[in-house]
Amino acid sequence: MLSKAKLWLGLALSTLMFWSAGLHAAWELNMPRGVTQMSRDTYDLHMTIFWWVVAIGVVVFSVMLWSIIHHRKSKGAKPASFHESTKVEIVWTLIPFAILIMMAIPATRVLTDAYDTTGSELDIQITGYQWRWEYTYMREDMDEEEVSFFSILSTSREEIDNDIEKSENYLLDVDRPLVIPTDTRIRFLMTSADVLHAWWVPDFAIKKDTIPGFINETWVVVEEPGIYRGQCAELCGMDHGFMPIVVHALPPEEYQAWYADQQQAAADIRELANAELSMDDAMAQGEQIYNQNCVACHQAGGVGMPPVFPALAGSDKATGDRLITMDTIVNGVDGTAMAAYGRQLNPIQLAAVITFVRNAFGNDTGDLVQPTEVNEFIVGGQ
């Protein structure tokens, strides 16, 4: 039976090689080598262990195949009577042990290196949320403008529902990627606001759980500018499959320029939050924010998925006192999947989405909430 199995496997493998020869880019067989020293070390270690087990497999399966072909009753084989040998048992206990030691030495070296998070030139905090990432750049001077933003899947609902053709980076695109400088030792500080997530970018060989109440550390030095993609790797609820990671690695000068722009933009938003919103603007922007942030649970039309995700259409929280609507969206609801959006959205966006849920889905309260009101609510600590 093994000969047939080998034939089949051989056939499958040669077919795969044929494909991977460039006819079809999607038949990826192996781990990426990546763009950091750590990812190359990891890849090399992976290949070393892989060839060790292949070699062991060839020896073991060859003996087995030989026995199956030659020591079969139909060929008149007579069974031998040996059934133990202490010497042989000791040999095949010690040889694997020695091989394991040879594997453990480089593994220990790479692992020790991965754990050395000292000497960072830039610290970035990564916070996992259901189902988005928040990136906050650590400042040395607390008077500086803070750069902090959320990164959300930007693949459209229509693509996921097969209504339109899928784009090249289907499910691997975000609205705002993490931007980092190349050739810089960066330390990531990872935590979570709700359940466990895991931040994983294969090209960096980084995968680390983000855990509420914990701060995990890891580090990276990216050597080549480029766009690197990854995904959440720890089951985190309904939309676990829909929280990708995109990292833009820029040369340090370009990164500095980008960072200065972000600081300026943060200052501008603070300024803009004093402006008046019109009802039409609020509803238009609110709908957009709803579709990006709320629709996964509360669904199109605000019907929700009761009892876990309540309906918004006609709900007391959306149609009653506007302070309750505001509180729910800004502070979230403890013990449920309803996150606190006070940090995730700016006051303009918050005002827009609050206005939207109070007027859409037949909740026609006619209320228009202004960014200044939201700001007062947040600053007032209510």
Binding site: A12, E28, S74, A80, H83, L111, Q231, H240, P306, P307
Partner: protein, 533 residues
């Protein structure tokens, strides 16, 4: 005891099974209970398989086609729970019930009433667990590992039913394990010394100790969840000073021995079948026993290799890496011994032997990926990807499940008194073998290329291997109906089986007629029948 007294004794108590449904409800007979366990586990195998086919159908193409992400998560969760607790574990308990008394020359299990009870609470536990799928908010959707706080603070309302079902399953397993230990230690026939016991008995004895050690930990962890959900404690809630990582330590302290609970009896089965069809004694019986015990011991000190990405200190990572790598040594000894048993034997390839050989090859492949996964820095890339999915399915499906199929074909003539249909058996084997490899081998590539596990939809570069995997899944799934057909056909009749059944078979179970009478070994077998394995 004189011969005539022995005859009178057996005559007085000679009775067949009760009639009707009460036979099955009230039975204390190890063979009846074994059969019920096996049928129940087969039903759960088909149910868990149906859940798996929902998953594979959804993953056939990129995009959402059949189910929404929330239901997809319920499917992955229920598939895992049903297969682990409903299919694989009860199937091994069923085999233990049927075969351990026959193998050690005992008239029944030591605690027959508890035996009845440990079976009959199972269907109720699963009815409760599966019914959560129809409850408001759906069933468990947090994976079979149910990590907190996703399963506590963020879990659906039905989580409480899930917790209660796990409590019942745990109670059933513990009772089963106590019964196995009591039977093996107290009821061996005279002359059946420990080192003469068949390896299936040895592996089950060790497995039973593992069960008793870890099922209470599982019960403890779900009880802590229950308190977090309903009684305001914060064991796993960071906001209340709790520790989500503690959940994982507790779960995997149960979970790692659990995976050996599902594979050690499989080692025992294969160690019975290979010598039979190689017509040669098992190579290295003593070292097989010691290797099993070593694996069981190591299973208690490797749990955190499931958690290499949680941010443990370096010293912890290194300890768990080295300890995990060590498991390769006793496991390797087992594989070498099986190969050495085949070497210079006189082999034939009936269906049980085909499954047993496929077990050795494919389980070894799963073992190889296991060594790769043990290497902590590389595990950072493999962790929670399809590489892991491929790894544990290789050890569980062509591993544990193939061993169960081998066992069913091997002992079916003893149970029914008829030979099964060898042609259909071989067809079942080959379709399963091709299906399982098509299903799981490409998943190695998917994982290495970067596909996370437990996602209902994926990026376009994963499309090709996913459709191959789905085709393999449906082939493997529907092939199992052949097994059902073969078993029913064999129960209904066929060529009469002899007591010996297989030319090369050794052991007490082959000294009783086929089918095995309702009561066997009411008087202990002659000590001369007990040979060294």
């Amino acid at each position: 005891m004189s011969t005539s007294a022995a005859l009178d004794h057996s005559h007085d108590h000679h009775h067949g099974p009760a009639k009707g449904i009460t036979r099955w409800l009230f039975t204390t007979n190890h063979k009846d209970i074994g059969s019920m366990y096996l049928w129940f586990s087969f039903a759960m195998f088909l149910l868990g398989g149906t859940f798996a086919l929902v998953i594979r159908a959804e993953l056939f193409q990129p995009g959402l086609q059949f189910v929404d992400p929330s239901f997809f998560n319920q499917m992955t969760t229920m598939h895992g729970l049903v297969m682990v607790f409903g299919a694989v574990m009860p199937a091994f308990v069923g085999l233990a019930n049927w075969m351990i008394p026959l193998m050690i020359g005992a008239p029944d299990m030591a605690l027959p009433r508890m035996n009845n009870w440990s079976f009959w609470i199972l269907p109720f536990a699963f009815a409760m667990m599966v019914s959560t799928l129809f409850m408001e908010g759906g069933g468990p959707n947090f994976g079979w590992t149910f990590y907190a706080p996703l399963s506590t603070t963020y879990g659906p309302p039905s989580t409480t039913f899930f917790i209660f079902a796990v409590h019942i399953l745990g109670a059933s397993s513990i009772m089963g394990a106590i019964n196995v230990i009591a039977t093996i230690l107290n009821m061996r026939a005279p002359g059946m010394t420990l080192m003469k016991m068949p390896l299936f008995v040895w592996t089950w004895l060790i497995t039973a100790y593992l069960l008793i050690a870890v099922m209470p930990v599982l019960a403890g962890v779900v009880t802590m969840m229950l308190f977090d959900i309903h009684f305001g404690t914060a064991f796993f809630d960071a906001a209340g000073g709790g520790d989500p990582v503690l959940f994982q330590h507790l779960f995997w302290f149960f979970g790692h021995p659990e995976v050996y609970i599902m594979i050690l009896p499989a080692f025992g089965i294969v160690s019975a079948i290979i010598p039979t069809f190689a017509r040669k004694r098992l190579f290295g019986y003593d070292s097989m026993v010691y290797a099993t015990a070593s694996i069981a011991f190591l299973s208690f000190i490797v749990w955190a290799h499931h958690m290499f990405t949680v941010g443990m200190p370096l010293a912890g990572q290194l300890f768990f890496m080295y300890a995990t790598m060590l498991i390769a040594v006793p496991t390797g000894v087992k594989v070498f011994n099986w190969v050495a048993t085949m070497f210079r034997g006189s082999m034939t390839f009936e269906t049980p032997m085909l499954f047993a050989i496929a077990f050795v090859v494919l389980f070894t492949i799963g073992g190889f990926t296991g060594v790769m996964l043990a290497i902590t820095p590389v595990d950072f890339q493999y962790h929670d990807t399809y590489f892991v999915v491929a790894h544990f399915h290789y050890v569980l499906v062509p591993g544990a499940v193939f061993s169960l199929m081998a066992a069913v074909y091997y002992w079916l003539p003893k149970w029914t008194g008829y030979m099964y249909d060898e042609t259909l058996g071989k067809l079942h084997f080959w379709l399963s073998f091709i299906g399982v490899n098509l299903l799981f081998f490409p998943q190695h590539f998917l994982g290495l290329a970067g596909m996370p596990r437990r996602i209902p939809d994926y990026a376009l570069q994963f499309a090709d291997f996913n459709w191959i995997s789905s085709v393999g899944g449906f082939l493997f799934g529907f092939s199992q109906l052949i097994l059902l057909f073969v078993v029913i056909k064999c129960v209904r009749g066929g060529k009469k089986a002899t007591a010996q059944v297989w030319e090369g078979a050794q052991g007490l179970e082959w000294t009783v007629p086929s089918p095995a009478p309702y009561h066997t070994f009411e008087t202990p077998p002659d000590a001369s029948l007990i040979k060294a394995q």
